[in-house]
């Protein structure tokens, strides 16, 4: 029997019952005028008719509205996020039959999905093996590795990179290493841009037999570590630049120690040379002139005594004074003279509009320089020449002088006061992102070189000469000792990568129009001393990130917070955090700035997040931190998805969506659960035509729960 026929039949039954009841009632009411007893019979008949009509109608609604609705919801769940879900066969036989049919479809679908998953699994096993090998190799490397796209977003990093670049937990201003985060927060942008320019140049003049296209520089990372950084390009098939790989090595300690030793040795040598010079001259004078007067002899003996005494004092003083010498240090890399000339020429022309004519050039000459710092120094020099003295054209030459390489910057000039130029090399300029102020003379000195200004003998031009060490004959870098390959182990496994970020748009686009699937989220949760914002305090915060549809369990923020008040037993009973546990932990105004750094550039996700944000807002004045990120709340999204359900607790939703509940009531545990739930919600939202952040937010705002306020 068709649904329309059933509904007609039910309608007819209900209406007939109603009409019969009403008709009989009316007849009886007429008759009741003669016989009072019939009145009650009539009333009873009318009531009976109304009850029959109501019951029939209710059954109709249940059978053909709610049961069907239930089937639709169940079908949607089975089709999308919860294939194991089954419909209870209740209601009319037809509905039951339909439910059984739906369950059969679900079985078949699950079976097909399993088969398909198995095929995919087999097909991908080779790839997985290779990935595991790559991951193991990366994990075992003591060098840090970062892979970035051209926007500077991190697509891959290993544990060493994280160790080298992450800040200390106590420092709120330190950035984090994480997938999708910007590398420029960790390493000076200018240094990377400069290195990319060089790589671009190398790619352009690449010879077929050349393999390695990398450039290296030493940079102070945001956390203060001195890192030797190598940049190698990642190219597309057509040779265009797609991204780059950075390898990082901590050279700070080693180089500082060795340079301190170097400086100590040099100073000791100079001062001792002076003292020894005086002693030797005195002795030789006495020897050469044995007939000198007693007074003269006494004078020379006194010189020898004084200088010997000074020598001892110098050694003691140097050992004390240089033990704490911690000035910033440089590390030198090799570069060919033509490459250096090109880089300088291009930079000065691009940035200053100064015309640079190549002068004398020794093509075979290699220099040992800190590329970035030297470039800053030369740029500063050219900038002052152009700004203060109107010099528009320079001649740049790089040639060998004795065992050094001389970089000469020359310009037409007559009769310049030499004092003015002498002062120049002492003028400070800012070199790095640590605001390290360095003069041109210091740049030269730290290269083990010298700088000076000189007029040409013709008197028609002047030049600055930087005398720098030549590189010893170029020898290939010794290859690392062969290391036997180790089988991937679970412990050394997790490397953190997401190459899909190659296809991400820029860092700060119009978020609202972006699809939910493509956004980067931070899921967060806070545990508190109670439920009253303003009175209660936060005792723990947990957060982790979702990038490209994956919950990144390695990149977590987990912090106990000292609430500066006792934690009620009722609260401890829920989250298990006691007064002892929070003793000595940072307070909220220390933790929130760090959390802000962790969540920057992401959409916040959480369950009943309005509560957590209200707690944060209470601390706005103390911490100076205001969270302005867009927000999606799983409580509201659940109400969007299942309006007919009454319960939208975290565990209720988890059960509905087939998410296993583990580790509840720790901040991080709840954040993880909310994250998994949110990921399962995305396809369900899409089924309802909700694809973008804006659409999700608008839908959430329209639910009843959104009107609750804290």
């Amino acid at each position: 029997m068709k649904r329309s026929q059933i509904s007609k039949l039910v309608g007819v039954v209900a209406l007939t019952a109603l009409a019969t009841g009403l008709g009989a009632g009316w007849l009886l009411a007429q008759a009741a005028q003669q016989n009072g007893a019939l009145l009650w019979l009539g009333v009873a008949l009318i009531l009976a008719a109304l009850i029959i009509a109501a019951v029939t109608g209710q059954r109709f609604v249940r059978a053909f509205v709610w049961d069907v609705r239930r089937l639709i919801d169940a079908g949607r769940l089975m089709l999308t996020v919860h294939p194991k879900h089954r419909v209870q066969p209740i209601g009319l036989p037809d509905i039951q039959e339909m439910a059984a049919l739906l369950n059969q479809f679900a079985e078949r679908l699950e079976q097909v999905q399993k088969e398909r998953a198995e095929i995919v699994r087999q097909a991908r096993s080779d790839v997985e093996q290779e990935r595991a090998m790559l991951a193991t190799l990366l994990a075992e490397l003591t060098e840090g590795v970062l892979v970035c796209n051209l926007d500077g977003q991190i697509l891959l990093y290993n544990r060493s990179a994280r160790r080298l670049l992450d800040g200390s937990p106590s420092d709120a201003a330190q950035p984090f290493v994480g997938l999708g985060r910007s590398v420029f927060g960790l390493i000076d942008r200018n240094a990377i841009v400069h290195a990319l320019e060089q790589v671009h140049y190398l790619l352009q003049r690449r010879k077929p037999d050349e393999q390695a296209m990398m450039t290296s520089f030493v940079i102070a990372a945001a956390n203060g570590r001195l890192l030797r950084t190598r940049l190698a390009p990642l190219t597309e098939g057509d040779g265009s630049l797609r991204g780059y790989i950075l390898t990082l090595q901590d050279v700070g300690e080693g180089i500082e120690r060795s340079l301190r030793r170097d400086a100590l040795l040099q100073t000791l040598t100079e001062r001792q040379r002076a003292s020894l010079g005086a002693i030797r001259a005195a002795i030789e004078a006495m020897e050469s002139y044995p007939n000198m007067t007693a007074a003269q002899r006494q004078r020379f003996q006194q010189v020898i005594l004084d200088e010997a005494q000074q020598l001892s004092e110098q050694i003691d003083e140097m050992m004390r004074g240089h033990a704490s010498d911690l000035r910033a240090q440089w590390m030198l890399e090799e570069i060919a003279a033509p490459d250096l000339l090109w880089a300088v020429q291009r930079r000065l022309a691009d940035r200053l509009g100064v015309e640079v004519t190549p002068g004398a050039m020794d093509d075979a000459l290699h220099l040992k320089i800190d590329n970035y710092t030297l470039m800053q120094g030369l740029f500063h020099l050219a900038h002052t020449l152009s700004q203060d003295f109107g010099v528009r054209s320079l001649t740049l030459s790089v040639q060998g002088v004795e065992s050094f390489a001389a970089i000469d910057i020359e310009w037409p000039c007559r009769g310049v006061a030499m004092e003015r130029w002498q002062r120049w090399k002492e003028r400070a300029f800012v070199v790095d992102d640590r605001d390290g102020v360095v003069t041109l003379r210091e740049v030269a000195e730290r290269h083990g070189g010298e700088v000076w200004f000189q007029m040409r003998p013709s008197g028609e031009s002047a030049y600055f000469r930087l005398l720098l060490p030549r590189a010893v004959d170029a020898t290939p870098v010794a290859s690392a000792p062969a290391k036997s390959f180790m089988a991937p182990s679970v412990e050394s496994r997790p490397e953190y990568y997401d190459f899909d970020l190659f296809h991400q748009p820029g860092q700060h686009p119009e978020l609202d129009r972006r699809p939910l699937r493509s956004l980067t989220y931070t899921v967060l949760d806070a545990e508190t001393t109670g439920l009253t914002p303003g009175l209660d305090e936060i005792v723990s915060i947990g957060a982790l990130r979702i990038v490209n549809g994956r919950l990144l369990r390695q990149e977590v923020f987990e912090q106990l917070v000292d609430p500066r008040r006792p934690i009620p037993a009722a609260a401890t009973a829920i989250h298990g955090i006691t007064d002892e546990m929070v003793k000595g932990q940072p307070t909220i105004e220390v933790v929130l700035p760090r959390l802000l750094k962790f969540v920057e550039d992401t959409v916040l996700v959480g369950h009943n997040l309005a509560f957590d944000l209200r707690m944060f807002k209470e601390k706005e004045a103390e911490s100076g931190v205001c969270f302005v990120n867009p927000v999606l709340d799983t409580l509201l999204l659940s109400a969007v998805l299942h309006p007919e359900e009454e319960r939208h607790g975290l565990e209720d939703i988890a059960r509905r969506l087939g998410v296993q509940v583990l580790g509840r009531h720790t901040a991080l545990g709840d954040a993880i659960l909310a994250g998994e739930i949110f990921l399962r919600m995305i396809p369900l939202l899409e089924e309802r035509g909700i694809y973008t952040l804006q659409q999700a937010r608008v839908a959430a705002e329209q639910t009843y729960f959104a009107r609750l306020e804290y």
Binding site: R271, A278, A281, A282, E402, S403, F404, Q422, E450
Partner: protein, 137 residues
């Protein structure tokens, strides 16, 4: 007339020996303790040779050397750098700026005296040649 030697050094102990040795060798000696004083002495004492230290208070030895070489007429004045700065790069810089010799401390007094004599002789010879050329012209 004895040749004039200007000693420019701020370390008193080495000056004692240098002054004694130069006087014993028959030169007329003047001493400057810093760069500025050295420039004044050059103008008033008119030395035939300068023994110049690099590490001086105020203007350093390289600065003084550049001033000397900048002045026309002072090109022939021999300058011997006598310094504890003995790195190769400093020697190269000194020679590039126009020093006639670069001697690092500690030095042999005999070698120093030989070098002083050689430089003075060379300068005298150059002057004679110049006069001869002027005369023959």
């Amino acid at each position: 007339m004895p040749a004039k030697v200007l000693i420019v050094d701020d370390e008193a102990n080495i000056v004692i020996s240098l002054e004694f040795l130069m006087q014993q060798a028959g030169y007329e000696v003047a001493v400057a303790r810093n760069g500025e004083e050295a420039l004044e002495q050059i103008a008033s004492f008119h030395p035939d040779l300068i023994l110049l230290d690099v590490m001086l208070p105020g203007l350093n030895g390289f600065d003084v050397l550049q001033r000397v070489r900048q002045h026309a007429g002072a090109h022939e004045l021999p300058v011997i750098m006598l310094t504890a700065k003995g790195r190769e790069v400093e020697v190269t810089k000194g020679m590039a700026l126009g020093a006639n010799a670069y001697i690092t401390k500690p030095f042999s007094t005999r070698n120093l005296l030989d070098e002083v004599r050689r430089q003075l002789d060379a300068c005298r010879q150059a002057r004679i040649d110049e006069q001869h050329e002027t005369f023959t012209d």
